[in-house]
């Protein structure tokens, strides 16, 4: 069981996340796709930690989870306040800064 299998799976999951971020219009789905990409990178860290026998990779994953939790709180608060102003969470409707 080599690390290559895990790297391929994590690359595939990351690509799925990118597809979601670029194509979907519901900002909550976009947010979940960002989480999917973070998870794919976490899988890479864990696979390399196992391969190299070094637990530093697991610490990195721990930190990524912390940042993701903070991001969840702030991101969803932003989505709620956008919804309060625009009655929509559609990313196409939030274009105030567009020239």
């Amino acid at each position: 069981m080599s690390v290559g299998h895990y790297l391929l799976l994590s690359a595939a999951l990351f690509a799925v996340g990118v597809v979601g971020v670029v194509t979907r219009r519901n900002s909550i789905i976009v947010y979940m796709c960002i989480e999917l990409m973070l998870n794919a990178v976490n899988l890479t860290f864990i696979a390399f930690a196992r391969q190299l026998g070094d637990m530093g990779g697991q610490i990195f994953t721990f930190m990524v989870m912390t940042v993701a939790a903070a991001e969840a709180a702030v991101g969803l608060a932003i989505i709620i306040s956008v919804f309060r102003n625009r009655l929509s969470v559609d990313v196409d409707d939030v274009n105030l800064l567009k020239g």
């Binding site: 290559g4 999951l13 690509a15 194509t23 789905i29 196992r50 969803l76």
Partner: protein, 165 residues
């Protein structure tokens, strides 16, 4: 056995990810995301990262996704127009597919043979005790900074979501 479990959970995770971005209902998407996180947690356990596997379930599936589901149900969202953004949808799909192909090619060509051979994990690898020990010795500064980050996130979330300041 390990290979079988890898393919089972890996394919299920991939299926859940693809179904998540294709689903029309946000609640279905969130539930598929939780399935994806369960599969990833199983893969972490397969890689001897026991603490991270449990944290994945507690933090991601337990806390973050419940918050997301709560917001989806609070806002009572429905897809009115199509699910895809209107700007050159086909171009986006083609570009992203090309990007995915590129990433997969690079990863599959990576010279993993240069890495040291994976040995059997040393006793206690990835347990709460072992990870906790290096978290509080070698990595104590990032750990403390994370606490400040979480405090800032709490204050920021309350400020943003409050209706009147």
């Amino acid at each position: 056995m390990e290979l079988l479990m890898f393919y089972g959970f890996g394919l299920l995770a991939l299926f859940a990810g693809v179904a998540m971005i294709l689903s029309r209902q946000p609640v279905t998407s969130a539930l598929l995301m939780i399935l994806n996180m369960f599969c990833l947690s199983a893969l972490y356990a397969l890689l001897d990262a026991h603490l991270i596997a449990v944290l994945q379930l507690l933090v991601y599936a337990g806390a973050i996704m419940v918050l997301v589901l709560f917001v989806i149900m609070l806002l009572n969202l429905r897809e009115k127009k199509g699910i895809i953004t209107k700007h050159q949808a086909s171009l986006q799909v083609v570009g992203v597919a090309a990007f995915g192909f590129f990433v997969m090619t690079v990863v599959s060509r990576l010279n993993t043979a240069a890495l040291p051979k994976s040995k059997a994990a040393s006793a206690g690898f990835g347990t709460v005790e072992a990870v906790g020990r290096i978290l509080f010795t070698d990595y104590v500064l990032p750990f403390e900074i994370a606490s400040v980050l979480l405090l800032a996130a709490i204050v920021g979330a309350v400020m943003l979501a409050k209706s009147k300041v």
